[in-house]
């Protein structure tokens, strides 16, 4: 039983972090209908910016964190303004190819700037593990979870209540109607990229804090696909639930099945669940039915 609870809690903690990264996909998809295949690389760049601030320049955690947000925002802005704005109206497949190309470019840039060596962060959070009853949770994971959930909550509140969030929802809902309400749809697109990039980079920062950073850190972005598809590409609540499901399934499968078959189940399990759920609900658990699948 203890073993089960241990797997469950770490599953939930990891799931919360997945949810934040999934939000990086959802925020952009919701407003612009573009799936950003470079989301993982946005994470990686975020982690490297933090590394640069805290290790190379020796800044404390909070200023480094603010620099990550600013840098990620700038990255999102640049990508949208210089590349994707010119792709408006092009076939989906071309836009997808552009984001895949972008991910390679970012990976190459990271290698040029920071080299391909493994880099680790100074401890971001208090080292002491968190003890709840009999359960012991790694501090990195626990605090990472807290930061991820707070970030998701902030984005959810912006979308629900802030004027700009409402305008973004309107844009996602019906572009022509949004234009007719005087909403500047193009700046909503830019903002979606900025938000998505910030969400992903904070996720990258958390992952980097747990396991260090390398140029291929973005590979974890692939693992987030089941999360996003499960939750429905355009639903924030769905991203959160999808994150928890994938995190828990992954940990339970890893804990119980890996010893039996000699490993590997942990990585495959989320995709098995993904296929099963898509067979029943092709538009994800919370997605709009008319979503175009790729």
């Amino acid at each position: 039983m203890d073993f089960f609870l241990l797997l469950l809690t770490s599953g939930i903690a990891v799931g919360g972090i997945y949810a934040l990264i999934a939000l990086g996909f959802v925020l952009i998809y919701k407003a612009t209908s573009i799936i950003n295949f470079a989301t993982g690389e946005f994470m990686m760049i975020g982690a490297y910016i933090f590394y640069t601030g805290s290790v190379l320049f020796g800044l404390p955690a909070i200023p480094s964190f603010l620099i990550v947000m600013a840098g990620a925002g700038l990255l999102g802005l640049l990508v949208e303004r210089t590349i994707l704005r010119h792709m408006l109206g092009q076939p989906t497949i071309s836009i997808v190819m552009v984001t895949i190309g972008l991910s390679s470019i970012l990976m190459g840039l990271a290698e040029m700037i920071w080299s391909s060596d493994y880099k680790s962060f100074p401890a971001l959070f208090p080292r002491a593990p968190i003890v709840v009853g009999d359960l012991i949770i790694r501090s990195n994971l626990f605090w990472g979870f807290v930061v991820a959930m707070v970030t998701v909550a902030i984005f959810a509140l912006i979308f629900k209540y802030a004027k700009v969030g409402v305008a973004m929802r309107a844009t996602a809902n019906d572009q022509m109607a949004a234009f007719s309400m005087g909403i500047n749809v193009r700046s909503m697109f830019t903002l979606a990229w900025i938000f998505g990039s910030i969400a992903a980079s904070i996720g990258g920062l958390i992952i980097g804090n747990i396991g260090g950073v390398q140029p291929n850190l973005g590979g974890i972005g692939l693992k987030i696909f089941p999360v996003v598809i499960l939750g429905g590409l355009d639903s924030i609540g769905g991203a959160v639930l999808g994150g928890f499901i994938v995190g828990i399934v992954e940990n339970l499968a890893g804990g119980y099945l890996d010893p039996l078959v000699g490993g590997g189940v942990k990585n495959v399990a989320p995709f098995v669940i993904l296929v099963l759920i898509l067979m029943v609900r092709p538009y994800g658990l919370f997605g709009r039915k008319e979503i175009e699948r790729l």
């Binding site: 309107a170 809902n173 109607a177 007719s180």
Partner: protein, 259 residues
Amino acid sequence: MAILEVNNLHLSFGGLQVLQDVSFSVNSGEIYAIIGPNGAGKTSILNCLGGFYQQQKGEILFDQTNISHISPDRRAASGLARTFQNIALFRGMTVLDNIKLGSHAHLQTGLLGAAFYWGRAHREEMELRQEIENSIIDFLEIEHIRKQSVSTLSYGLQKRVELARALAMHPKILLMDEPVAGMNAEETEDMVRFILDIQEERDLTIILIEHDMRMIMDISDRIMVLNFGQKIAEGTPQEVQRHPEVLKAYLGTDKRGQK
């Protein structure tokens, strides 16, 4: 006095001529109807006015300002509201949220303002809500549904909510694309009453497209008739009904001028 002036509008998609040399002007406070057979270019004119289509030639003057090349959102913010032929409400949002989005452009506090000057943003929101409740929701008789999601409403009510949202924009000109299409007699009657009341109380200029001939003839001050992208007639309902070109192109040979 003309509030809107359209001069020599040309619009084509590839080889297809959609609008050819269309000129008209709309006076402040009038109800101006655009009619014509399907495919005559009526909705294209609204899309040019709204900025969704860019005409190849010609200019659009709104309040003496040339708006031919400014973006749709800025045209909307300057006082050009629109309702759509196929209702374009924000699905999944409530009636009230939809209507509040109409006043989006007029809220002064922006993103940073909303975050840092909570007090002011809050006050604006309250004033806005008051205005919407009193002069739009009550007026259009949709109090009972304001908390409902728009997707659950009947077609007629959705059209009414769309009108409410357009009014929340405080427009100078309201463009209505087939406001009563697909409505039953009672819904049509309600809508006509609302249009007339709005025009009277708010001193609004209304440009509308409609296929319901009885309604057009009843409420329009002036009518423009389009056929194959060209203006073939313009005038009061009586003049248009007797115009030989119109009878030929649009109304068949029915001398009474009813479809």
